[in-house]
């Protein structure tokens, strides 16, 4: 009985190991998928739609959304939270895919990783130099709470955090409108519908 238990335990550990995804492998695989889409001979609209699908699978949109809201998230009721997350997802996917779709044939090499905590690993990579642009350093903040399903929470391009920029942008809108969350909702809606 003990032996069976040990075998089962061993198998279980192995299965866990098989499904655990290393953050650097996850990033390389994600950029390869994005790169494949960007080099395909398809319309820009199709590229954007495909990139949105990748983002839905690989980015912790809800986590980024709450981070971007800053301390204002604490004062939202459940109904507002649901509305915000829906608006944020639409805004994020449009903004993210639109930014990426400008790149053609991006070659990204994953160089190293640094475990910050149980929940976060930073993966360092570089976007290779081309005739039009110099080499660009990109760090990826990977949320590793669920080892089987790591998720992107931030991109830090040459030391500039996209999530932090977004957070400060949202804070600015809230502060200009006396903290009224509806003003942020309107801005997000306006961006997504344009």
């Amino acid at each position: 009985m003990k032996k069976i238990f040990l075998v089962l335990l061993f198998l279980n550990l192995n299965i866990l190991n098989v499904f655990s995804v290393e953050p650097d492998v996850f990033v390389q695989s994600t950029v390869n998928r994005a790169s494949e889409i960007l080099t395909k001979n398809i319309s820009k609209e199709d590229k954007i739609n495909n990139l949105k699908e990748i983002a839905k699978e690989t980015v912790d949109i809800e986590g980024v959304g709450f981070y971007s809201l800053g301390s204002a998230r604490k004062s939202l009721n459940n109904e507002q939270k649901i509305k915000y997350l829906k608006l944020f997802e639409d805004y994020f996917l449009k903004s993210f895919s639109s930014r990426l779709s400008e790149y053609t044939n991006p070659e990204i090499d994953v160089l190293s990783k640094k475990v910050l905590s149980e929940n976060y690993t930073i993966v360092n990579s570089v976007l290779k130099e081309t005739a039009e642009r110099p080499e660009v350093k990109i760090d990826w903040r990977i949320y590793t709470k669920n080892k089987d399903n790591p998720l992107i929470r931030d991109l830090i391009i040459e030391g500039l955090s996209l999530a932090r920029t977004q957070k400060e942008e949202f804070a600015s809108i809230l502060s200009s409108n006396d903290g009224n969350i509806n003003s942020l909702f309107q801005s997000l809606e306006k961006f997504s519908s344009n």
Binding site: L160, R164, E169
Partner: protein, 263 residues
């Protein structure tokens, strides 16, 4: 008289910065305090003015500059970068980085001579370490001065009271190129040459960032706030010398990220 006024303004700005940015505590290596946008109304108006100026004059010039042959663009970029060493070197010294000051002096000598007035970055090919600009704003920060309020300057763009003070240092004797142009008794340099060099430096920078700015503007819901955030992040990184390997400082503050997992 003009110089006395500038010194008085600089002293005032410095005194103001020390308190405004630090709330009385000057700990540079701690997590940076939030920079206040004390003059937001004026800043937004100046930002709008700068955007109009950019669309009407600067961006078209930058696009035209891009049509110049690559070697000319590269040579111009190298030339203005090499000139910036004249400000970087004294700041390396003021920040106590004597070794880097020596390296940058050697780089300046090699590039200004073998590299034909800095138009060719010979030092880079010789294996010199990657050049990082330093300015008086960064030096003031390493001395413990807080950033003070965020300001948008006409034409020059985003800054802080501390960085603006730092810029004043250039015209108070801190920039040898400015001194030689304005006060030097020579036939090659004068005020117009100095202003033209600064204009070319600005156009060179703008031409390297046309797509980035366009992309940022299109994908921002508050472009002013995005530019402010990126400027302040970039200054923090430069002050903390992130690109020289102090990356652990960058990822030190995890509170915001950890907090959302508790909700």
């Amino acid at each position: 008289m003009k110089k006395i006024s500038l010194i008085l303004i600089t002293t005032f700005l410095l005194a103001f910065n020390a308190n405004a940015g630090s709330d009385g505590e000057l700990n540079l290596r701690e997590q940076p305090k939030k920079v206040k946008d004390c003059f937001e109304g004026i800043n937004r108006a100046t930002f709008a003015f700068n955007q109009s100026l950019d669309k009407a004059i600067i961006k078209p010039l930058a696009e035209g500059y891009r049509n110049l042959p690559d070697p000319i663009q590269k040579g111009t970029h190298n030339f203005v970068t090499n000139l910036s060493s004249l400000v970087t070197i004294p700041n390396n010294v003021l920040q106590g980085d004597i070794k880097l000051a020596v390296i940058n002096t050697a780089r300046l000598v090699v590039n200004s001579t073998v590299g034909i007035l800095g138009t060719i970055d010979v030092a880079n090919g010789m294996g010199f370490p990657k050049y990082e600009k330093e300015d008086y704003g960064q030096t003031l920060a390493t001395w413990g001065f807080g950033p003070g309020c965020y300001v948008v300057l006409p034409v020059l763009g985003p800054s802080t009271l501390r960085d603006t003070t730092g810029s004043f240092m250039n015209i108070l004797g801190g920039d040898p190129y400015y001194n030689a142009s304005m006060h030097g008794n020579n036939e090659f340099l004068n005020e117009n040459v100095y202003m033209a060099t600064k204009a070319v430096e600005g156009i060179d920078f703008r031409s390297n960032n046309i797509e980035s700015f366009d992309n940022l503007e299109v994908n921002s819901i508050d472009f002013y706030a995005s530019v402010k955030s990126l400027y302040l992040q970039d200054r923090e990184n430069k002050i903390n010398n992130i690109r020289k390997g102090n990356i652990e400082i960058f990822y030190k503050n995890e509170e915001d990220w950890e907090e959302i997992d508790k909700n």
